[in-house]
Symmetry: C2
Subunit: 414 residues, 2 copies
């Protein structure tokens, strides 16, 4: 049998060798495994409908109504209870959720394939930078109009482009963005522009797209600095997928929140979650907003930290200091700490300020617990009433790692 | 009479208030003041034809032949000597030169206007990233073909775009690029992409441009990470122009090289140069190249350092560490030193790593001399046989500042 170190090394090698390519845009129901006309996904570990509250509940209700699975909140509630609408966690379906993480059957999703492992993963399309978004737990006429815009204008153009381009390789864009001030979680400004640059030649080859639609498409990109986040998440998810179920491997494969709990997954334990209550985010709220106004609605963009980005690459992204309420010195210190809990350094994702040292990658549950150092996550915060409320640093709760190491010990060390 | 401090403050205010807009592309002879069908410009302080050697001489000969002012090197030599070709320094004509700095009458140039001062300045268009370029002292069939490409494809498209866009404001792009890893001298990667992004909508509105031409245009941009440097230089030049001839002002308005000398200009002394021999550049040469292979061919991109960029913003650009042979720590130290010799901090150009402190700007000749701290310049190095040979740090020679302060003292302090 392989040792833990050998198993972890296999995982690290797969992470470094992954080659995520954006290959398509499809409706979720047509491409996501196990998803049908009645499935709605949510972010984070499994949670019962009764326990889903606040923005995450509103988003699910909105998704059901938008999809015409029900006409009212009451009907949604009834249909979920009698299982004529099925609620499932994103990551059980190779999807990765933004904030509330709602996926509905007709939602267009990015399809990203890892050419090294042949795994496929999915992510929703960025809804845009306006305050009111389904992802942020808001559902009203404006949100509906914007969802229609994404489905009818943005998705079809992107679909035609990705076919003409024969796929777009994501790691080169991500690697370059880390040299241009992004850490690919809270900041994706460079990556979005690099991506737009990569697709521009195909914009001139579109069939049946009017000049007006092209200019709306360009406007959406110019206003969507976080557009690429969703592709980065899909790239991280498909990479994480490639290291599931490696026997003996103690590397983290997911960190995610639903509205109540924080959970992690560990390679050797496949789909099993180890959960704990969500800790307080240390951060900076936008003016006029109090901590009581914050609502945890879920979130899975932490998949990027899990694969060596975000908080694990923050010394690439000093422009984020104000946004996250920190200083460059604090960011450097936090980033350095992450080398203590990871087994390797990334070969494609490098930090100029650290003399091009690779980002820390491969979180070992044992190192986290032994050193008492939590993975650091660059988190966006949502307002109870919907919308972006601030940002900060979330430290993954040690309790998850304690549960995971205990389970590991029971399985392997008895 | 105003004091030196008051005069310098006036200059600083003008620098900060400048609003450079790229407004046009024109042939040099049609727009550059004092330039006619027989004028060739070169970079750096005035220098006699006999003293112009190496790459700078080759570039001038090439420019004359390309312009059909002469058919051979011999004829160029004869015509310059009998003044039927007139050789002049760029900066006497509000132009700013890249490396050898050659301008010929039919050359298309960027026209940049400072909306605050109504000054106008000019810069050539980036020739592309290929090794052999007229700017780098090479003239052959490939160089001719590429100059034709710039003149016939790139310049007309840019001209149509700038008219349709009704001008493009440069400071917002520059300001943003400093948050994305550029220092706008040796690295312009982000600025070039941001610029391309800004012009993309107009690419869809071109008349009479074929799809083939558009795809050549896009290809040129994707291969030209330094494209924006020339617009940044024009922006800095027009800003510098706005502080010429302020009585009593001891702020540097130009630093430039010809193939033999380094020179500076100082506000109160208008067009006068204070010169010294070129010091050795401390840097890193590309593999296989020795210091003896280096040829100083001139250079005026130092105008960016003069206006608070390049070496004065290098802590914005840690990706450059390998290129310039330094470390992040050394870059931070060098950048901090520049605050010792400048009178202000930029309000639009800020350095994330310094907690968004403005770049040091307004080089005071007295501070340089009293503290013995030379302005630090991020320099590209050229190979004797043409092409890029390496890069490093050039320290402006103190002798220039000594001459300037002595002249200042004679004028004002006797």
């Amino acid at each position: 049998m392989v040792t833990k170190e050998e198993a972890n090394y296999v995982a690290l090698k797969k992470i470094l060798e992954s080659k995520p390519i954006w290959i398509d845009i499809k409706k979720a129901k047509d491409v996501v495994p196990g998803m049908n006309e009645k499935t709605i996904l949510h972010s984070g570990p499994p949670i019962s409908w009764e326990n889903i509250t606040g923005g995450q509940r509103q988003a699910i209700i909105g998704a059901c109504i938008y999809e015409k699975l029900a006409l009212s909140e009451k009907e949604v509630d009834k249909k979920i209870k009698n299982e004529s609408i099925i609620l499932k966690p994103c990551q059980d379906h190779d999807c990765i959720g933004s904030l509330t993480g709602v996926y509905f059957p007709s939602m267009p999703v990015f399809v990203v394939k890892d050419e090294a492992s042949n795994q496929v993963a999915f992510c929703s399309i960025y809804e845009g930078s306006q305050k009111e978004r389904l992802t942020y737990g808001v559902f009203n006429d404006k949100v509906i109009e914007n969802l229609n815009f994404i489905n009818e204008i943005i998705a079809p153009i992107l679909e035609e482009i990705v076919h003409k381009a024969n796929g777009i390789s994501l790691k080169p864009i991500m690697s370059r963005a880390l040299r241009m001030g992004d850490e690919l979680h809270s900041r994706n400004t460079a990556a979005t522009i690099l991506f737009f640059n990569a697709i521009t030649p195909y914009l001139f080859k579109l069939k049946d797209t009017s000049e007006k639609e092209i200019s709306e498409f360009i406007k959406y990109f110019n206003e969507s600095e976080l557009f690429f986040l969703h592709l980065a998440m899909a790239a991280s998810k498909v990479t994480a997928n490639s290291i599931y179920n490696i026997d003996n491997c103690s590397i983290v494969t997911a960190m995610a929140l639903n509205c109540k709990e924080f959970g992690i997954r560990v390679s050797t334990f496949g789909d099993k979650w180890f959960t704990a209550p969500i800790p307080k985010t240390e951060g900076k709220l936008f003016p006029g907003i109090k901590y009581e106004d914050i609502d945890y609605m879920g979130g899975e963009s932490l998949i990027n930290e899990t694969m060596g980005l975000g908080g694990f690459a923050q010394a690439s992204s000093f422009p984020l200091q104000n946004y996250s309420g920190g200083t460059p010195e604090k960011m450097i210190e936090n980033n350095r700490l992450m080398y203590e809990i990871t087994i390797g350094e990334h070969e494609q994702f490098k930090i100029p300020f650290f003399k091009y040292r690779g980002t820390p990658v491969g979180i070992d549950i044992f190192s986290v617990l032994q050193k008492g150092i939590s993975p650091i996550i660059n988190m966006g915060l949502a307002h109870k009433k919907g919308g972006h409320a601030g940002a900060g640093i979330l430290k993954a709760p040690l309790e998850c790692f304690e549960k995971a190491t205990n389970t590991y010990k029971k399985k392997y060390l008895n």
